[in-house]
Structures are given as structure tokens and as C-alpha cells.
Symmetry: C2
Subunit: 151 residues, 2 copies
């Protein structure tokens, strides 16, 4: 008789991470989509530009962990919607200089507090200890991944 390995999917860390993350992201995505016609990728670009206005698409990609194709597309749509403006860098004509328009800032100022509220609501399920540990653990895994990819 053959005995097989036993793997309980529900207990499997990558699976749990994935399901949790997707559930959270999708809930947020649906709201942004319906209220602001804004996809998650677009929102990430906005969020980064709200913090670092005037950077190039390349830097947006780095700071959002998105690839350059995704950034290119998100920016194209954001420009079409008049939320982002694209210029060309003086010192390097390949590079773009991305800035938020008035309209872009307006959305940003609406969505940012909403995002923080989502985060608070999620964290509210955890007590103070758990929140601290989670933050620390994510930071560690994050660093580990960065290292991994750096090779």
C-alpha cells in the first residue's frame, strides 16, 4: 500500500498569503473601480506620484513593484482621463517626467484617506501585539524576497 505525502492546502503559507491578499485587494479594487473608475495599478501610480511628483516611469515601476509595461498602460489611461501629465526629462530625452494634474490631486486626496481607512479596518481585527509582529514579519519577508530577487 502506498502512502502519499499529506499537504493541507489550507495550512500552506503561500496559499494562505495568496488568498488573503487577493481577497483584500479585490475588495479594494471593486470600490475604487466603481467610485473612481480607477484600477489598482492606476491607483498605485497615483499613490507614488502623490508622494514623489515628477519622477520617471522607470522609478514608478520600481516603487510600485509593477513592470514597465503595466506602468506604461496605467499612465496612458491616467493621461487619457486627465489625471496625469507627461513631460520629457531635460537631461535624458528617453525619460518621462510624470506629474499629477489638478484632477489627479483631487482623486488622490479622495482615495488616500479611503485607502488608509481600509488598512485600519483590516488591522482592527488584530490586537496591538499582533499588529506589531505583522509589521515586523512582513518587513523581514520583504527584505528576504528582495535579496532573493537580487541574485
Amino acid at each position: 500500500m502506498t502512502v502519499h505525502h499529506v499537504l493541507e492546502l489550507e495550512q500552506f503559507l503561500p496559499y494562505r498569503l495568496s488568498v488573503l491578499s487577493n481577497t483584500v485587494s479585490q475588495a479594494i479594487a471593486r470600490e475604487y473601480e466603481s467610485r473612481f473608475a480607477l484600477s489598482i495599478t492606476q491607483w498605485r501610480v497615483l499613490a507614488v506620484l502623490g508622494r514623489y511628483d515628477g519622477i520617471a516611469a522607470r522609478e514608478v515601476a520600481q516603487r510600485t513593484a509593477m513592470d514597465k509595461v503595466a506602468v506604461s498602460r496605467a499612465v496612458a489611461q491616467l493621461m487619457k482621463d486627465g489625471r496625469v501629465r507627461r513631460g520629457t526629462a531635460e537631461h535624458d530625452k528617453r525619460q518621462s517626467v510624470l506629474t499629477l494634474t489638478e484632477k489627479g490631486w483631487k482623486i488622490y486626496d479622495e482615495v488616500a484617506p479611503l485607502a488608509l481607512e481600509h488598512e485600519r479596518r483590516l488591522l482592527a481585527y488584530l490586537d496591538a501585539d499582533e499588529q506589531r509582529w505583522l509589521s515586523r514579519i512582513l518587513e523581514k519577508l520583504w527584505q528576504a524576497e528582495l535579496q532573493e530577487l537580487g541574485r
Copy 2:
């Protein structure tokens, strides 16, 4: 002068979860794809069937947090590859009865230990305390999400 909200994307929990989860999943996906011609969705189906052989597609969907369309497609491909067999339930002819073939078991027995190894490698970045807290935190958030969706 207008002061805008400040939202540091890198510190934003849903974002961190998403990036971490995607990085982990993609690393695993690439390996399964190249070594076994197996997508993550297909792997999840295999994993559940390895544990609960003979269940219906509907139950696979529940246990994998995938929607029924995704399950249907994964099963179709797994059948084409001769890894899964589909029968019809006696008591309800709508329901399928999904079982692993010899070939399916063979893959399962290869992939399962590999999956566990991936998990170990990820957890190795954390000390024992952190591992315990992570498990507990994910469990709590998981329950919270379930509740959320149940409404």
C-alpha cells in the same frame, strides 16, 4: 498652500501583502510550470484531490478559494494531460466525481514535498516566535475575511 494626505505605499498593508504574495507565488509558479507543465490553479486542484479524492468540482472550488470557472478550466487541462479522471455522481448527475489518475498521483507525490520545501525556505527567514505569530495572525485575518464575505 494645500497640504495633501501622505500615504507611503511601501508601508501600506494591502500593498505589502499583495507584493509579497505575488512574489512568492510567481517564484513557485515558474518552477511548477517549467518542471511539470503545471499552473498554480492546476496545482491547487491536484493538491485538494490528493487530500480529498473523489470530490465534486464545486467542493474543489470551495477548498481552493477559486471560482468554478477556474476550476472547470484547470480540470479540463488536467484531464487532457491524463492527470485527473472525471466521473458523474450517482445521486446527482450534475455533480462530477474527480479523482487522480496514476499519473496524477505521481505528479502530486513529486510536487507536494517541493511545495513544503518552498514553505520551509520562506519560514526560514523568521525565527520561531515570528513563525508562531504569523500563523496566528493569518488565521485571524482569514477568519475576519470569511466573516466579511459571509455578509
